[in-house]
Symmetry: C2
Subunit: 373 residues, 2 copies
C-alpha cells in the first residue's frame, strides 16, 4: 500500500529519511535523506495508480516538470492523470538528497568524508525510499544517461518489483572513452586550488572554476557536432573579435561564449563535490561487476526492457544501445531518436521522445496485464 500521507503534494518535493545506506565498497552512510517529487493530477486514488519511477541525469533533479516539461503532465506521455510519478534526487546529489555538501551527523559538511558511490548504491537508496513510501510494485522505471544506468541497475537488483524498464542513451558499462572524459573532468575540479581536498564547504571559496572547465568539455560530449556548428559556426561573439592581432580570452567566438554560459549556469546551481561523486559513479557503472561479466548479467535480466538512444550520440554511441538490445535477457524493443543534437536528444527531441515513451508504456500495460506473455 502506498503510504499516501508520506507523499508530497503533486509537483512538490519532500525530503524523506531512508535510513543508513551501506555502499558497495563497504562504507556506511548514516541517516540518508532523499528529496523526492511526486506528480499526480485528478481524483484517481493514488493506491490504484501504476507507479512510474523516473531517474534523472547527472545534474538533473527530482523535478521532472522542470527538465522534461513536454513529457510530463495531464494527457502527456508521462500522464499525471493516470500514473503516480516519482522522481528522487540521486544519492550523492546536491538538490535535497544526501551528498558531500550535506551536513554530516557531526554538523559539518561531509566533504571528503563522503564515500565513493556506485550506480548500484544510488539504487539501494532509492529502494529504501520505495520501502518507506510503501511502494512494492513499479510499473515502469524510465531514465536517460545516468538515469538510464540507474534504470538498468533497478532491473538487475530488484526485478521482483519492476514490471518494465526503459533505459535511454546509456550503456551496460562505462566505456574507456567515457572514463577518459569523465576522469579528466574530475581532475579539472581537483586541480582547482579552491577544491581544498574536497573540504571547501566551510570556507569562503569553492572550485567553481574547475567545475566550469569540466562542464565546457562535458557539454561538448552532450551535444552533436552538427547542431553546435549549425548554431554557431565560426561566428564571433557580438562585439568581440577573435581574429585580432593578439589572442585574448575576452575576444571570443560565439561558441566560446555559449560554453561560458553553460559553465556559469552550472556553477550557480550545482555543487562541485556532487559533480565529482556522481561522475565517479558513472566511471564505476558496470552491470557486469560481481555478476559474471557484462553479457552474463544482461542475459540473466528478467525484466522486460525497451532500449532507446540517439543516433548522433558520441558519449553513449548507438552501438552501445544495440549491444544492450542483443544481450538483455528480456528485451522488448529498440527505438532510435534521429537528431543532430547528440546525447541531449532525449531532452530536446521531445516529439520523438514522447512517441517512444508512449509506445513503451503501451507495452508496459500489456506486460502488467499478462506478465507471462
Amino acid at each position: 500500500m502506498v503510504h499516501v500521507d508520506a507523499l508530497p503534494p503533486s509537483g512538490s518535493p519532500s525530503v524523506i529519511s531512508v535510513g543508513d545506506v551501506e555502499t558497495e565498497a563497504g562504507v556506511c552512510i548514516p541517516d540518508v535523506h532523499l528529496c523526492v517529487y511526486a506528480f499526480y493530477d485528478a481524483a484517481t486514488p493514488l493506491n490504484e495508480r501504476p507507479v512510474l519511477l523516473i531517474e534523472h541525469a547527472l545534474t538533473g533533479d527530482g523535478n521532472v516538470a522542470d527538465w522534461w516539461p513536454e513529457m510530463i503532465g495531464p494527457g502527456k506521455p508521462l500522464d499525471t492523470e493516470r500514473f503516480l510519478i516519482l522522481c528522487a534526487n540521486v544519492l550523492g546529489g546536491c538538490q535535497g538528497s544526501t551528498g558531500p555538501s550535506s551536513r554530516h551527523p557531526d554538523g559539518k559538511a561531509w566533504g571528503s568524508r563522503f564515500p565513493a558511490i556506485s550506480i548500484r548504491d544510488t539504487v539501494t537508496a532509492e529502494k529504501a525510499l520505495m520501502d518507506v513510501l510503501g511502494i512494492d510494485r513499479i510499473h515502469a522505471v524510465i531514465g536517460a544517461s545516468m538515469g538510464g544506468a540507474r534504470a538498468l541497475e533497478w532491473t538487475l537488483m530488484y526485478p521482483e518489483i519492476i514490471v518494465s524498464a526503459l533505459p535511454i542513451a546509456v550503456s551496460a558499462r562505462a566505456s574507456a572513452w567515457q572514463i577518459g572524459m569523465q576522469s579528466s573532468q574530475i581532475r579539472f575540479i581537483e586541480a582547482d586550488p579552491h577544491w581544498q581536498g574536497g573540504d571547501y564547504y566551510d570556507s569562503d571559496s569553492s572550485p567553481a572554476e574547475g567545475m566550469g572547465q569540466a562542464r565546457r568539455i562535458a557539454h561538448l560530449t552532450y551535444r552533436g557536432e552538427l547542431e553546435i556548428d549549425e548554431r554557431f559556426g565560426t561566428d564571433p561573439q557580438h562585439n568581440e573579435n577573435p581574429y585580432g592581432p593578439y589572442r585574448s580570452s575576452s575576444e571570443r567566438f560565439a561558441v566560446e561564449s555559449y560554453l561560458d554560459r553553460q559553465a556559469d549556469k552550472l556553477k550557480e546551481r550545482f555543487d562541485a563535490g556532487s559533480y565529482v561523486v556522481l561522475t565517479d559513479a558513472l566511471n564505476r557503472h558496470d552491470v557486469g561487476r560481481g555478476r559474471g561479466g557484462m553479457n552474463a548479467a544482461l542475459a540473466k535480466s528478467t525484466v522486460p526492457t525497451m532500449v532507446a538512444g540517439v543516433d548522433t550520440d558520441i558519449l553513449y554511441p548507438w552501438h552501445q544501445q544495440e549491444h544492450l538490445s542483443r544481450n538483455l535477457g528480456n528485451f522488448v524493443g529498440l527505438s532510435q531518436i534521429t537528431s543532430p543534437t547528440g546525447h541531449d536528444g532525449f531532452l530536446i527531441e521531445t516529439r520523438q521522445m514522447g512517441l517512444i515513451v508512449q509506445k513503451f508504456l503501451r507495452k508496459a500495460d500489456q506486460l502488467a496485464q499478462d506478465p507471462l506473455d
Copy 2:
C-alpha cells in the same frame, strides 16, 4: 633552381632565416626562422626531382621519418629515391622554428608578445622558405589535420607553384565543436597559475599541468571511442583500484593512466605557448575569410586536389571531407581510411594511408605531365 647548398643533409634539420613575416592581422614578426628537414636518397640530382612538401600536424615537427616512418623512405609512398621531400616546423612552433618560446630580437623570450597567427600566416612563412631555397614548383603538398589546413591554404594562396594537393582529415574551416574543444584547451593552459600571462619562459615554472589537461581532452578527440575501449575497457591500472571505498586520483582506471602518459609525454617535448598559438590558429582556420565565403573560395581553387579522411574521426568528421569534395574547384578524388582509431587513423593505418598517397602521387604524375588534362 633549388639552392642545393642551402639544403641540410638528407634526414637532417636546418634552421633557415626567411625574413620578416607580416601576419594576416597586421603584426610584423621580424627575422623569422624555420627549421626544415630534407629527405633525399640516391644519386638523382636534386634539381631534377619533383618536390614534395609535407605539412605536419599540431604537435608534429619537420622530421617526417620520426612521425610517419612507414610512409617515407626508399621505395615507400613518399619515395626518397625519387622525390626531394621537405617538411618545416610550423611558424609558432617550438621545434626549431620561430614561436613564443624563441628569443625576441631583444634577447628575451617572445612570450605574450608573440602575435596571434592564422593558418595563412604559417603558409606565408613557408612560401618565404621556398623562395630562400629556390623552389618555385611544388609537385605535391601533403598534410593531415593542421597540416591539411596548411595544404589547403597553399592551394588557395600560391596556386601558381602547386601542382597538386592532398589535404587529409581536415575541413574547409574550423567547426564550432572544434572551436569549443580547442578554446577550452587554451583556457586550461591560461588558467594554470604558472602561465603568467604567457611570460613564463624566464621563470622557473611553466604551465605544463594546464597543457597536460588540454592534452588529455585533445587526445580523446584524436582517438576513436571503439579503439580506446578495445584497449582499455573498464580495466583498472595495474596495482590500482578505482573501485575502492573512497575516490582517489592515485587509484586509476587503465585509460586514466594512458591519458596521464600522453599528457606527460607532451609536457616533455612541447611548449605550452606554442600549443596556445597553434590551437588558436586552428580556431581561425577558414578558407572563406576575405574570399567571399567558404564555398566561393573552394570553388575558385584551381589546384588539382585529392581529399582523404577517416570514417570514425569525431574531430574532423567525414562529412567535412565530403563537403570539400563537393565544393573544391578542381577536385580529383576522395579516399576514406576505414578504421576504429578516429582522427589519428592517418598516423596509425599506414597501409591504407600508403595506398592513398601512392594513388594520389600517380595522379600528380599525370597532372604534372599534362597540366591541362
